[in-house]
């Protein structure tokens, strides 16, 4: 673990917190981590908890995916799921949360009391409804189940907090990750209002974010900062992630997206890799799908990411490196747009409409960064994964250095580590969580004094599966809540 400052921000309001104060905890999932019920004709649901649905997505061609995943198209209409997955239902039933829930709602009766009867079925339904009202079904259980269970149990069972009404009810605030982060930030603000309205004695919530959920939360601050006690950002790509650029040139595929740190394989990590592969195994497939996705494209490295992360001397000297979004919008390398007419593995071609759509997404990414600026909650905690090989910068000058399935014109040299220019860590190799490099996830622009903790080996999509990571989440949650 690399801790740069393990103190609470000096302006924390939590020191005055009485242990009778209700502060709901809101978990905001990352990109692709919310289960979305798709109502378009023939579209599978976006449900990473359901292998059959994800297999259907893998068997959906790029053009159909483009239609289904566009949240503005009639076929892409979707809503955050309101019903639990089989996986979540099973895990909840085998947990001991009914005892916690029963303190808050007497109609929830722990199953040991009710046994196997009609009454047990009713109690079970009440129990599930209790957490359904907290938004838990919307969060993918594979990625967030352990976090929700642990926070709900440990924050509400601690000494002095184990009687009567729950002081820190844990909510999940899933969102349609296909939409832009500004729109989802506004939605989160509304959701925070709704949660506070359910707890009339509560004035603030504590927010725990994962990955892109951190950007959603930052976007919500304009309307909700005073209603938020503090924010714990977990593996936030605050200045973007280079992998989002690289996949436009390689697709989401091996060997670039090779597993790390998985012996034996972590099933949840395998599931996360499948989600990425569904986005497109080759550059054109990937671009076709991304052209309709607002949130994911907003994860491209921003102008704050590094001074130079794409080395492009071979493309001439007239590239304006002062605005990386202008580079992205170029047709062909080093831009992220395929050349018009380029085709994917299925034989579908990239056309002018696709290019216009992707340029609009790039413009949206730039707008997001301009909107967020350097705005963070004053009580910000940063937790990030470290010591895993992570896409960090790119050198287009290196010539052909890799071949993937015979694609010989892949001229991108992917440098997955390099020298960190941060004066605080001279000579340290750039690292990260396998997806987001530490240079972005350690949030260099967060308020001075914000605690930053790097957890070695914590992998991006499954960071909550790492005990040390989860320990830090709970530790800082307790501090902010005034335990």
């Amino acid at each position: 673990m690399s801790a740069s400052a393990q103190v609470l921000p000096t302006n924390s309001t939590s020191k005055d917190t009485l242990n009778t104060k209700i502060v709901p905890v809101v978990v905001v999932p990352g990109v692709m981590g919310t289960r979305v019920s798709m109502v378009g004709t023939g579209s599978p649901d976006w449900d990473p908890d359901n292998n059959a649905q994800m297999l259907q997505w893998a068997n959906t061609d790029s053009i159909a995916k483009q239609r289904f995943l566009d949240p503005t198209s009639a076929d892409g209409k979707g809503t955050v799921m309101q019903e639990f997955s089989d996986l979540a239902r099973g895990a909840l039933r085998s947990s001991d949360l009914a005892t916690v829930a029963a303190r808050d709602r007497p109609s929830v009766v722990p199953p040991k009391v009710t046994g196997r009867s009609n009454a047990a079925a009713i109690a079970d339904a009440e129990f599930l409804r209790f957490y359904k009202e907290r938004g838990w079904p919307g969060a993918t259980w594979k990625f967030y189940g352990d976090l929700l269970l642990r926070l709900e149990k440990n924050l509400n069972s601690a000494k002095g907090r184990s009687g009567g009404t729950l002081l820190n009810p844990v909510y999940a605030s899933g969102y349609d990750w296909r939409k832009g982060n500004i729109e989802n930030g506004a939605r989160l603000s509304t959701e925070i209002d709704r949660i506070l309205a359910r707890h009339p004695n509560a004035k603030q919530v504590l927010v725990v974010t994962h990955s892109m959920g951190g950007l959603v939360t930052r976007a919500s601050l304009a309307g909700s900062e005073s209603k938020i006690l503090g924010v714990i950002h977990c593996v936030i790509p605050t200045d973007g992630a280079a992998v989002a650029y690289r996949r436009f040139h390689s697709g989401a595929t091996l060997p670039f997206d090779a597993p790390q740190n998985e012996d034996p394989p972590i099933l949840e990590a395998v599931a996360a890799r499948v989600l990425n592969k569904i986005m497109g195994p080759d550059p054109v497939s990937y671009a076709l799908v991304q052209s309709v996705l607002r949130g994911p494209v907003e994860l491209l490295p921003s102008n704050d990411y590094r001074t130079v992360f794409v080395e492009t001397t071979n493309f001439g000297t007239n590239l304006d490196m002062g605005d990386v979004y202008r580079i992205y919008a170029l047709d062909g390398p080093p831009g992220i747009l395929p050349k018009i007419g380029a085709s994917n593995v299925e034989g579908f071609s990239w056309n002018a409409n696709d290019a216009a759509a992707l340029r609009a997404r790039i413009a949206g990414a730039k707008t997001l960064q301009a909107t967020l600026g350097r705005r963070y909650h004053p009580n910000t905690v940063v937790l990030f994964g470290d010591d895993l090989r992570t896409d960090t910068n790119f050198n287009w000058n290196a010539g052909i250095v890799d071949k993937v399935d015979g694609i010989e014109d892949l001229k991108l040299k992917i440098t997955q580590d390099g020298i960190d220019p941060n004066p605080d860590s001279p000579g340290k190799f750039l690292r990260g969580d396998g997806t987001v490099p530490a240079v972005s996830a350690r949030v260099p622009s967060a308020p001075a004094g914000s605690p930053r903790v790097g957890i070695s080996g914590a992998e991006h999509s499954v960071c909550f599966a790492k005990k040390e990571f989860m320990d830090q989440v709970e530790l800082f949650a307790r501090k902010l809540l005034g335990f």
Binding site: M38, V39, G40, T41, G42, S43, P44, N50, N51, A52, M54, L55, Q56, A58, N59, D61, S62, A64, A74, K77, T79, V80, Q82, S85, D86, D176, K179, E183, A186, R187, S189, T190, T253, V270, A271, R273, V274, K277, I278, P281, D282, S285, V345, E346, G347, D405
Partner: protein, 280 residues
């Protein structure tokens, strides 16, 4: 020339006669209530390529995306429509087996996906063979139930239950959603669903309830006016709970865009076109 006749659809325990300007946009998915990884899906799309070319495209895409054994292309010769099918086992998704078929129906294609925990070639062949535009007089294949799917019927393994949500779109941007889940959705569920679609600043105005009765059915109809973040104009919705005696049968959400005018008369005619299915 007379007006085109209404078309009859099965929506759970009722049938509904809808005017021809409605298009069936239901996601036809039959699922195992005890195993969500056991599922059959059917979808009809325009056919842009010859069948063999299209099936090759599907296989290239699947092979590039996921790891696992991909079976060869085969045909069910006894099926009513030209068809090709293959299997794929995903080693990354719990070793689930996808049985996939494309059938050419005039200028369209029906895609059938049957996902199970083990290969079930005979079951899938029976499903492919059963796809038909008429119910026919032959009994369903063993272990199956004949189910409607858009204009078709097909034999579905008996364990798999039909969809409960049926969606119809019309040319003016309106829609109808029939929800035949066993429990009636509440007004809260309705508000949540709209809220999930971007209802920032959501305002739900519940206009007085009206009761309607026809044949042996009864409907309690609620009117809503909603303002969505994405659309500044007030949106008008109708929600009806349809029951027989004390037995809830189906809910109906209806929407028409503001420019389409009042939806009252259209919604009433939809309700009056509903009939309870009398089971043998």
């Amino acid at each position: 020339m007379g007006a085109e006749a209404a078309k009859r659809y099965d929506v759970g325990r009722v049938t509904v006669d809808l005017a021809p300007h409605y298009r069936d946009a239901t996601t036809y998915r039959w699922t195992d209530p005890d195993d969500s990884d056991h599922v059959l899906s059917a979808v009809r799309r325009p056919a842009a390529q010859p069948l063999d070319e299209w099936i090759s495209m599907k296989r290239r895409g699947l092979r590039a995306t996921l790891e696992g054994p991909l079976g060869g292309v085969a045909t069910v010769p006894s099926a009513r429509f030209p068809n090709r099918h293959f299997t794929f086992q995903s080693t990354e998704l719990g070793n689930l087996v996808l049985h996939f078929a494309g059938l050419s129906v005039d200028a369209e294609r029906v895609e059938l996906s049957y996902i199970a925990r083990a290969r079930a070639d005979a079951t899938f062949a029976a499903i492919v063979q059963s796809l038909s535009l008429s119910p026919g007089e032959t009994p369903p294949s063993p272990g199956s139930v004949r189910r409607p799917f858009e204009d078709f019927v097909l034999d579905v393994p008996i364990r798999l239950v039909p969809p409960t949500r049926f969606r119809f779109l019309n040319a003016s941007g309106g829609w109808l959603v029939f929800d035949a889940a066993p429990f009636a959705p509440t007004a809260d569920d309705f508000a949540t669903e709209l809220g999930a679609e971007g209802g920032v600043g959501l305002r739900v105005q519940d206009v007085p309830v009206r009761d309607l009765g026809w044949a042996d059915l009864f409907a309690r109809v609620r009117h809503y006016e909603v303002r969505l973040a994405s659309e500044p104009r007030v949106q008008t919705f109708r929600l009806a709970y349809v029951s027989h005696s004390t037995d809830f049968l189906v809910s109906v959400f209806g929407y028409a865009p503001p420019e389409a005018g009042d939806i009252e008369s259209e919604f009433r005619s939809v309700l009056f076109g509903m009939h309870r299915k009398v089971l043998p």
